[in-house]
């Protein structure tokens, strides 16, 4: 599935990653500043490692030796940030359709209705982006990511910033995604209990080093 072996340096921080992901859900824990977000940004293509390669299902996304660097929008890897980052000029439905329309019909992995159902978005569909609570907005952003038909979903502390009650409401959706969808996910957090709940294999990241 995902195979990475790369080095990324910025100022005096250096991230060294060697990982091979075979299971559908990989959890990565580490303190803040350990390089968790940097890791995801390198995989998605926002940052470019100085050295190494990233490969997903036989497709080379990055190889510094062969000078290959597939741009972010062609990688089919979706990223969920801490904050939902909905497009503020579009309502919920338009946010979801935006992602869906970027994918040709035969290549769509999830149906619009199916995603509405899974994330219980139907009651929100006509709302404006600024009329949602933090938890609702995050669910919409997950739905938007799914509709872009990614081959891999990266979650960068998706529950940080939500209170514990909301966390308890959203976590089951991730569990459903893991159980019901055929979509590999990497889930980054500094709360290992979230990963235990989801039943993820856990890797530790410490000051840019995998352990």
């Amino acid at each position: 599935m995902l195979k990475c072996d790369f080095q990324y340096r910025h100022a005096d921080f250096s991230l060294n990653v060697e990982l091979e992901m075979q299971q559908p859900l990989l959890g990565i824990v580490g303190a803040s500043g350990s390089g968790k977000s940097t890791l995801l940004k390198n995989i998605v293509g926002l940052l470019k490692p100085q050295q190494g390669y990233i490969q997903f299902n036989q497709r080379i996304l990055l190889d510094t030796k062969q000078n290959i660097h597939v741009p972010m929008h062609q990688r089919k890897i979706a990223l969920i940030f801490q904050n939902a980052l909905l497009f503020p000029h579009l309502n919920v439905q338009q946010n979801l359709r935006y992602a869906e329309k970027l994918v040709a019909k035969p290549e769509r992995k999830f149906q619009f209705e199916e995603v509405l159902e899974l994330l219980e978005l139907r009651p929100l569909i006509q709302r404006k982006a600024n009329q949602l609570s933090g938890g609702e907005a995050q669910r919409v952003s997950i739905g938007r990511a799914l509709l872009s038909s990614p081959n891999l979903l990266l979650l960068d502390e998706p529950l940080t910033g939500l209170d514990s009650k909301l966390k308890q409401q959203i976590l089951p959706f991730f569990k459903r995604m893991k159980d019901e969808l055929d979509l590999p996910m990497i889930y980054v957090t500094h709360h290992p209990e979230e990963l235990e709940y989801l039943g993820a294999n856990i890797l530790q990241l410490n000051q840019g080093q995998m352990t």
Partner: protein, 227 residues
């Protein structure tokens, strides 16, 4: 109501301001985007050049335009062979307005690009949108308030443009005599003060309406975007 002379000045002013605004718009969007999103070594020079028309005496600007775009000017003589004449022509008034109003137009557009959350671009990219698609579907629509405000400022500034215009394209009735130039002409006549007053009042109304429109656009979009 308005006399034929006044109507002609109003029509010319509106025509010049409209063309100046529409022609500047794509350039101002490109420039605003460039300055908001890119850092480069000679940026300070581009910034200074951009602001120059605001601090330069308008007559100097008009003279420079004559030197460059006059019928015998460095660029003007080539344009002339293509049948394009700018000096002493309303199209020259458009060019003068564009240059004078350009910094006013770029500024709000640049600000709206600058204040936009850059993570929106990253999100759209990770969803599979190519950079040009992100620009058209996310950045440009979100910059509409800045684009409207910049356009209104450019339009109003063009309506009032005097110094560079009169130097470059002169004072020709029905060709280059816009409202401010008509006011100036009336004031040169012994009995023209009353006529000038009417155009002064018209200028005030136009300028004031533009500023009020600005205010309402800001209000509307702040509500809409929940800012």
């Amino acid at each position: 109501m308005l006399s034929p002379e006044e109507l002609s000045a109003l029509y010319l002013s509106a025509k010049v301001a409209l063309f100046a605004t529409l022609t500047s718009l794509p350039l101002a969007i490109a420039m605003g985007w460039y300055l908001a999103r890119y850092e480069f070594r000679l940026k300070f020079l581009v910034e200074a050049l951009l602001q120059l028309p605001m601090v330069l005496p308008p007559v100097v600007l008009g003279y420079l335009l004559l030197v460059l775009f006059g019928n015998q000017g460095w660029i003007g003589k080539y344009l002339n062979t293509l049948g394009i004449q700018l000096a002493f022509n309303w199209k020259g008034a458009v060019l003068a307005s564009m240059i004078v109003a350009f910094p006013l137009m770029v500024h709000p557009i640049r600000l709206s690009f600058q204040l936009m959350n850059r993570q929106l671009n990253q999100i759209a990219g990770s969803l599979g949108a190519a950079p040009w698609k992100v620009f058209w579907s996310i950045n440009l629509p979100l910059a509409i308030p800045g684009i409207l405000i910049g356009s209104i400022l450019c339009f109003s500034r063009s309506l009032g443009e005097f110094g560079a215009t009169i130097t470059f394209v002169g004072n020709i009735p029905d060709e280059t005599r816009t409202i401010p130039i008509a006011i100036y002409s009336f004031l040169q006549q012994p009995d023209g003060e009353n006529m000038a007053m009417r155009l002064v009042a018209l200028s005030l109304v136009l300028a004031f309406s533009a500023l009020i429109a600005n205010y309402f656009i800001l209000q509307k979009y702040q509500r809409k975007l929940g800012a």
